[in-house]
Symmetry: C2
Subunit: 210 residues, 2 copies
Amino acid sequence: MKTLKIPEATIIRLSVYSRHLTEVDRKGIVTISSGDIAEGVGVSPAQVRKDLAYFGEFGTRGVGYNVKDLHRHILKILGLSQDWSVSLVGMGNLGLALTTYKGFRERGFIITSIFDNDPKKVGTVVNGVEVMPVDKLVEVAKANKTQIGIIAVPSQFAQETADKLVEAGVQAILNFAPVVLNVPPEVELRNVDLAVNLEVLTFNVGTRRS
Amino acid sequence: MKTLKIPEATIIRLSVYSRHLTEVDRKGIVTISSGDIAEGVGVSPAQVRKDLAYFGEFGTRGVGYNVKDLHRHILKILGLSQDWSVSLVGMGNLGLALTTYKGFRERGFIITSIFDNDPKKVGTVVNGVEVMPVDKLVEVAKANKTQIGIIAVPSQFAQETADKLVEAGVQAILNFAPVVLNVPPEVELRNVDLAVNLEVLTFNVGTRRS
DNA sequence: TAGATTGTTAATCGATTAACAATC
DNA sequence: TAGATTGTTAATCGATTAACAATC
């Protein structure tokens, strides 16, 4: 098995293709070409074929790709042929939104524990999961074999939360706090910065030739 | 003024530098080198200098950059030396989280109108802004000179929401629905897909040599 | 066979890194 | 002046696009 370096942009697009294939499959369409996929998601056909080619040969020349088959392959590639146990830390408005976000469960991300330090929140049940004090994080997340931690706490508590998640043995962390976190290299870290997205927009608006 | 094409990655990093400079300035530090910034945000010093060089010469050789001065310049570049009037559509849990998100107001993004079609939500006041029916969107957003629209509605309503925002004359749209939207080229569009972020993580976890 | 579409290579384009002259 | 650090160029690395042979 060759381990070519895969561009992250390719992974993001695979995720988008996959969602598109869900739609296409729902419509009962059996076969799809790279051109069809490309049109559906707004990239070039060559890009679609190139992205898929990193992982194997999934199509038939002259015909295209079998929708169900390709979809299965992409889900497998993305690691979505299994469920993932997720721990969410921080039950503010963002935490609540993430907990109830349909897109997570649909893709196999199951929130199995929730932590917050607010005594008013501890003990309440959100989406079927009881909110526990952050003190319990390491113990509970370990016991649950939690694989992914989501940080939705205020920035000043983000690093200590990350430390606890690492101690609990998570493999990956998704961080919504706009700070740079330090985690050991064996833990995958990804940052989502909501304000940055608006700032890219305002930069683009500002530099538009008009 | 030369209009070199600026990488989007540069814009994202400028946003990160800017947030770091807020911290540094708060500590009372007056001068900072590209190496200090680099260390603070986890990139290389050359990258910092290159990013800044797209926009001018902000430092002093042998000395570094004046913190306040550089910060002001970056904010100006990002279009943050003015406030932006933002309209939020969809007052679900995500909409609520976005409305109360401190990071937006801090950076000059002011949510001036909120729309939802749920009669139970219409008329309520969230963070000082009254929720209005989506029917009113075009009229109200126009009257407010709304510049940015945020889409936080279920996927199946995302395109019609985008259409209304375009009709209202917004310059940019931030879309949280995991669908591909069509908007005219003069409207800037950016998609935030929360599930994709988790999928990049699970892909990386799955392909780790271990 | 003729038409269609993949998989893959080569060419192009773009972004990052390294190195260093300029200069405070 | 000596030391430090920028701004910028050249070299490297990586990703996208175009083209086309393979093949259904």
